[in-house]
Symmetry: C2
Subunit: 345 residues, 2 copies
């Protein structure tokens, strides 16, 4: 390990001076977010050195459509956990930020009280690159937070697109926040999010208690029906945990204790039956393959031989002159035979 | 074009001698299903030569869980269409056949009357390889059937796994058969199949007319709710077509005419507004990229440098000694730097 890496690791893992630690974390995450090759090499070395200090946190995924009250929920929960003596990190994956460059998730102004606490670390979503790239950076930021000894790392995302699958793939427990609206749960089922949920939280239950109770019953019955035919996630979750549905009002602070009790009993169960360790192992390997696939596609599309051929081939496929499968074989051959030519040089 | 290819094309596209044509089709499809490199090269040449003769059929996707009555439906529909003077081909994608080697879909004994008609061509699911490979072969078989002048090419699949997405990706219209059961539609929504459906058919409506009517109302309302938030498929389908839900009884022959009327009005609408051509173009390009991705993964996994490293790297990632993203970068480098070494030779 280089001296630079060792110093960075020490600054992140020591907790005596919170301000220094916080600065070291921010610098490390910025380094990991960089696209420069030298930064990337240093970042990889740092990450490897941090790994022995990771894995002790509980990783909690929080998802929900805009307006469901994620910020209020996370702030209320964060303050509650700090009150119990825990340190809390909040990270975010905002798919819209990859387009707009801005991020509405993990924004400190949305969690005013929590952001002022030294026991909390809040970082907005990385704001450039593809969703896969953003997810990779967030995943690495989780490890930095863990190495810094945060007890709970929350990763929030909005209930649109593929970002929920990404957050589900990097957390120990995936919670879906819902409004007590009819049709809301149908959307979640449609998007395949409901079957990812370990816990469904009906927020803003105080506004219309009857609607919230109806929604709770309806979602419980949907989860039961979905589970009957075997959720693809059932294996990772273990046979013992049945997804629960609870009502809360984050604004009034109602139900947060019950929420945390559910999380704790999930954590205990999944730790003792080995499912948690299994889930993390599966997540890491899945993530490795996801990044490999991404890298392969990138290399393919930027290969000179492929780049030369691609426009004409795409045109021929679109106009029906060339079968798609033949086109794929020709392009793959262009990539590998160019390597052959180099080989023969 | 070689003489061999030209002769094969002539035998497939000529319709004077149905028995000869049928034999030529079967030989062509067997050739396309072969994994031998010389067969593949000949197959690609044949496919390219057949392409100008394709595109005139209507490609109808039929999906439904086992027991929903797909065979009876396809047989009834096929005989009805033959009665209207049309020629009908039935192909299948059976994900289970890739495991068992056998195929229950497209089995002629399941469609006894239809299989005896010269106006019908029935071929079971390819029974080896990955789902992607099976789908590719079926896709190419569709083109052979089209070149042979079949008016309607049906592709059936069971309502499990990813095979429905594959069939949706190679047909002009995707129909989902449902039983009049509560919960059945929920499963389809969960699996994301419902939002792919251009037409939902409630089969066996005669058994319990009240349940069928309830299911029709429920699915119609679900489709409306799902559509409200923008189905990702809405663009391909065009703004004009709203997915319909109809009741039939394939066994009694009820509703088949109404089914075909719905198909015909869909076809007319999608042809005149250009959506059909757009959908086919998109499907071909998506298919090309799917096969490229598959080829890239295959080449990566069989690369000697990668194969050497992989077991140890996977072990390190699983045990938390190496970050997934770092592992991915290292493995990708192993593949490309091995090429570099060859280059420098």
């Amino acid at each position: 390990m280089s001296t630079e890496v060792a110093e960075r690791v020490a600054a992140i893992t020591q907790g005596d001076n919170p301000a220094l630690q916080r600065r070291a974390m921010a610098k490390a995450i910025t380094l990991l977010e960089s696209t420069r090759a030298d930064h990337r090499a240093l970042g990889d070395a740092l990450l490897t050195a941090l790994l022995p200090h990771t894995g002790q946190s509980f990783r909690l995924g929080i998802s929900g459509v805009p307006g469901v009250g994620k910020s209020t929920f996370i702030e209320t929960l964060g303050l509650y956990l700090i009150g119990k003596g825990l340190r809390v990190a909040v990270l975010a994956i905002d798919p819209s930020s990859t387009v707009s460059g801005g991020s509405i998730l993990g924004d400190k102004t949305r969690m005013e009280q929590l952001s002022m606490r030294t026991e909390a670390y809040i970082r907005p979503s990385p704001s450039s690159g593809t969703l896969g790239g953003v997810a990779e950076k967030t995943r690495e930021a989780v490890l930095v937070c863990e190495a810094a000894g945060y007890d709970v790392v929350m990763v929030e995302t909005v209930g649109v697109g593929q970002s929920e699958i990404a957050v589900h793939g990097m957390t120990d427990m995936f919670c879906v926040l819902q409004l007590p609206n009819a049709g809301d749960d149908l959307q979640a089922i449609k998007k395949g999010v409901m079957e990812l949920a370990d816990l469904v939280v009906i927020n803003k239950a105080d506004i219309d208690p009857n609607a919230a109770t109806r929604a709770q019953a309806q979602i419980t019955s949907s989860l039961r029906l979905l589970g009957m035919h075997g959720s693809h996630d059932q294996a990772a979750r273990g046979a013992l945990w049945q997804p629960r549905v609870i009502q809360i009002s984050a604004l009034l602070g109602h139900g947060v204790e019950a929420f945390w009790e559910a999380v704790s009993s999930y954590r205990q169960m999944q730790t003792s039956n080995g499912c948690l360790a299994m889930r993390r192992e599966k997540q890491s390997l899945a993530w490795m393959w996801e990044r490999i696939d991404h890298g392969l596609k990138l290399a393919f599309r930027s290969h000179p031989g492929v780049r030369d051929m691609l426009p004409a081939v795409q045109q021929q496929v679109a106009s029906g002159q060339l079968a798609a499968s033949t086109a794929a074989r020709n392009l793959l051959q262009a990539q590998s035979s160019a390597a052959m030519i180099h080989k023969a040089d």
